[in-house]
Symmetry: none
Subunit: 177 residues, 2 copies
């Protein structure tokens, strides 16, 4: 990861892989020592190198054995509880995100419908619309009609004779639904 950046995947080249393993093992063990000294914690690393009967371990003394034993002595419950908590957390988070996506999708559909409508005014092609877009458009149109009707009512109340009101409403508007 230095001269070239290296992808995180199994190194097929035998020589390279072994060289990398050697170098990184050294590095790892050094880091384990550092964290343990700097922070005063029990830490331990084990790396199985192919061909080596005994894995590389730090710390090299029997402290390692004690650390491992401690780990194994953790009850199964303790170990799995942490995982469970983590899982529950992730699930909750996922649920939230899902809701968010749904909401965004809705907003989106409405905005698209609106855009389509406006485009409709300027003569866009309905043959291109998908079923969902059509439905959204229908909704928008309906809303538009409500607005128009309301406006007309207001006007007809305002102007006593209201002659124009009866005319335009007819056939096309309400029937197809």
């Amino acid at each position: 990861m230095t001269r070239n950046k290296v992808k995180l995947e199994y190194i097929n080249n035998d020589t390279k892989r072994r060289s990398t393993l050697r170098k990184r093992t050294r590095g790892m063990l050094k880091k384990v020592q550092e964290i343990s000294v700097l922070c005063g914690v029990d830490a331990c690393a084990i790396i199985y190198s192919p061909g080596e009967a005994v894995p590389q371990v730090w710390p090299q003394n029997l402290d390692a054995a004690r650390i491992l034993t401690d780990f194994n002595n953790l009850t199964e419950l303790e170990r799995t509880r942490k995982m469970t908590n983590h899982l529950a957390f992730m699930q909750a988070r996922c649920a939230t995100l899902r809701d968010k996506v749904v909401k965004k999708e809705n907003d989106n559909t409405k905005l698209e419908a609106q855009a389509i409508l406006y485009e409709g005014f300027s003569g866009s092609d309905f043959a291109e619309l998908s079923p969902n877009e059509l439905l959204a458009t229908v909704n928008t149109v309906d809303n538009l009609i409500s607005n128009v009707v309301e406006r007309m009512k207001a006007l007809s109340a305002q102007a006593q004779n209201g002659g124009f009101v009866g005319s335009g409403m007819g056939g096309g508007v309400t029937e197809p639904f």
Copy 2:
């Protein structure tokens, strides 16, 4: 070991030590994963953080236990592996959803901008419309509806079952935006 070089000895400052532990633990676990993937070896690290009942371990599933010990309770292993898989799955899903939200948000912004633009052109505040303009609008809406109906017919002929056509028409129409 970066802004300042740090001596390899116990860090007395509480805050610093804890911060260092957190950061280095992350780093360590990452490196364990890397060596294990790059070189295809079994590797495992355990770090006991004060205050945490359970040590930080990589790999996070009980493969760690397999690496550490010879115990082979297959049932237990299987069970935990499932949880681990599930967890990994959830994590991936969360990532995807997060991306989706971002994307939707972007789409949304664009659409909003578009809507604003169109609105600017057509100045469509209905309370402002004159009777004549209303009539024009009604006609336009009428045309829109014809176009939509035509398109729906085409689609319902195209799709044998035509399930969508019947569904959304009624109730949704009144839903305002």
